[in-house]
């Protein structure tokens, strides 16, 4: 066993885990707080990834952009364009109820995917974008660059976590949860339900864009299969359900634990005899499907269920709040 290798696997594991954690936190804003069934996560992820990639990549004949802007600018721009996309989507279909919103968002994500794959002038189509930089690219070479990138990713995770926590622990978050629990009652107590949903959708979409940007910088390469819904939309949903929707810590824990299962099962699969080399991958997918059912039936409120943020004023009044 090579400890150095294991260390670098852990680094890579945590980079992926961090990117998924951001996606999960973003979905938590939309679903956990706001009750919006967004099944088009991959679409916002892709918009963010392409925005940042096109702005920061080296100039190329094959696609638009290549402005070599600094990576943080790219990431911010990713949040803005993904947020704007989210705004447009929400403007059209925020009034739709649960499953219908899911259908509409899948449909829109698929349309976005087709635009990415078809509009060669913009994205270089299926050939993808190469030479996407990472932040601080000049400083470190080789595998050590991963450590630096890990720090960048988790710095973003912490920022996103803090943002989400502040949103949660505020009248804004409280109202949003009220909208989620009962739309009519929220209206009856003076809340503009559509406006809250719109904001939620935009904030979530922008954060998803950030995750997309980070993944493009991590791979240094971006092509349309980055929008694969199985890997982005579906997996993120599973992570949030497993971690505990409505709970930011739960979102991060869910992202890391489901990603651990997804990634580490392959190491087992590799221990099977050679005859199983192809089959082990199918068995792995089968097990993931079964595990999901297990989580849904046994841990349906997640590892860390939703908790009310508590009230700062309670401390100086009484101790009944738990």
């Amino acid at each position: 066993m090579d400890p150095v290798g294991l260390f670098f696997y852990l680094v890579a594991f945590l980079i992926f885990g961090g990117i998924y954690a951001i996606l999960c936190l973003a979905l938590n804003v939309q679903w956990g707080y706001g009750g919006l069934f967004n099944a088009g996560i991959a679409g916002f992820f892709a918009v963010g990834a392409y925005t940042s990639a096109l702005l920061t990549a080296a100039p190329a004949q094959t696609h638009l952009g290549g402005y070599e802007l600094p990576v943080p600018v790219g990431i911010l721009a990713a949040a803005v364009t993904a947020g704007l996309t989210g705004w447009a989507v929400a403007k059209i279909c925020i009034r739709l109820k649960s499953d219908y919103l899911a259908m509409a968002s899948i449909g829109i994500a698929e349309i976005l995917r087709m635009v990415i794959v078809n509009e060669d002038w913009l994205t270089n189509g299926s050939l993808g974008i190469t030479n996407i930089p990472r932040p601080f690219d000049g400083f470190v070479q080789g595998r050590a660059a991963d450590i630096l990138f890990l720090l960048v990713v988790w710095a973003v995770v912490i920022i996103v976590y803090l943002i989400c926590n502040r949103l949660y622990d505020s009248p804004w978050g409280r109202t949003l949860r009220a909208v989620r629990d009962n739309e009519d009652a929220a209206r009856a107590v003076g809340k503009d339900v559509d406006a809250f949903r719109l904001q939620t959708f935009v904030i979530g979409a922008a954060l998803m864009g950030v995750a997309g940007a980070l993944s493009a910088h991590y791979f240094r390469f971006l092509s349309p299969e980055a929008t694969e819904p199985l890997l982005i939309t579906f997996l993120v949903w599973v992570m949030l359900m497993a971690g505990g929707s409505g709970n930011n810590k739960g979102a991060i824990v869910g992202a890391l634990s489901v990603w651990a299962i997804w990634s580490m099962t392959e190491i087992f699969a590799n221990r099977l005899p050679a005859e199983f080399a192809t089959r082990s991958s199918y068995i792995r997918m089968l097990l993931i499907g079964l595990l999901l059912q297990f989580v849904l039936q046994r841990y349906r409120s997640g590892l860390l269920p939703e908790r009310s943020p508590g009230n700062a004023f309670d401390k100086d009044t009484d101790k009944t709040n738990g």
């Binding site: 009220a178 629990d181 004023f313 009944t320």
Partner: protein
């Protein structure tokens, strides 16, 4: 109709003018006009399907009438969405409790407060000091309301876990979080036990007497109505049948007809 004559225009909270509500071919509300007097507890009664809840929904803005006007004091609010009516002081409860299930009891009340600064996502993340005073005020009002409703012991409980009666109290509490000009109570007494029913009635009376709150309530239990309401409006088949004190309407032939289809019974006896 003597009630309407008694009061001057300025004392009307809500005025309905020729409200018609059609669903497909059916008229749920058929040319209804009446006004609700400030500072009183008005009862709205009638058999099932009379259009009472539809009318409530029209007043609260949950649905919009096919024709007619709704006035809040002198202002035409016919096309105002429900949340804006709520901000103008129109509060309501629902027939089936509409609690915010995953929120604590305290949060359920605080949500209903006026937290316009804290409801900005930008402030929530970056300028949290901006809404602390507002939040404090809402918190204190919520605590007072909990004490008033005797719900303080469950303040940290998730609202979804409350009993049916406690949920009704909570709904009532939510209407008190902003200074309400009119509180619409849709069968607040339905499906809860006698003791709690008495308690709710007492609270409503106190709110009316001590704070001068105006109520309009839909209720089936006429004894209950008689304990609370000085003014009763009777509806049947989408129309207003009559209006008066509970004793007047109880003995009104048309009311008996509407409730029992003809027999000579005393309503609610």
């Amino acid at each position: 109709m003597s009630g309407a004559l008694r009061i001057s225009i300025r004392r009307l909270v809500i005025t309905l003018e020729n409200i018609i509500m059609r669903f497909g071919g059916l008229s749920a509300v058929d040319d209804v006009s009446f006004a609700i007097n400030k500072g009183e507890i008005t009862g709205l009664i009638g058999p099932n399907g009379a259009g009472k809840t539809t009318l409530f929904n029209i007043i609260a803005g949950r649905i919009f009438p096919t024709s007619g006007r709704v006035l809040l004091e002198d202002e035409d609010i016919t096309s105002l969405p429900p949340h804006e009516r709520s901000r103008k002081g129109l509060a309501r409860t629902f027939q089936i409790p509409h609690e915010f299930g995953a929120l604590t009891v305290l949060e359920n009340l605080m949500v209903a407060g006026d937290t316009s600064r804290g409801e900005s996502a930008f402030n929530a993340v970056l300028r949290r000091s901006l809404f602390q005073r507002e939040e404090r005020a809402v918190y204190e009002r919520a605590c007072d309301t909990l004490d008033f409703l005797e719900l303080a012991h469950v303040r940290a409980e998730k609202a979804g876990n409350l009993s049916g009666g406690q949920k009704k109290l909570l709904e009532l509490g939510r209407t008190l979080m902003r200074e309400p000009r009119l509180i619409l109570l849709d069968e607040i007494g339905a499906g809860i036990n006698r003791t709690l029913l008495g308690k709710i009635a007492e609270k409503i009376k106190r709110l009316n007497a001590e704070r001068g709150y105006t109520f309009c309530l839909i209720e089936h239990d006429l004894d209950y109505v008689s304990r609370l309401c000085g003014d009763v409006i009777v509806m049947a088949q989408g129309k207003v049948l009559t209006r008066g004190t509970i004793d007047q309407v109880r003995h009104d032939e048309r009311v008996i007809e509407a409730y029992f289809g003809g027999g000579k019974y005393e309503v609610g006896a």
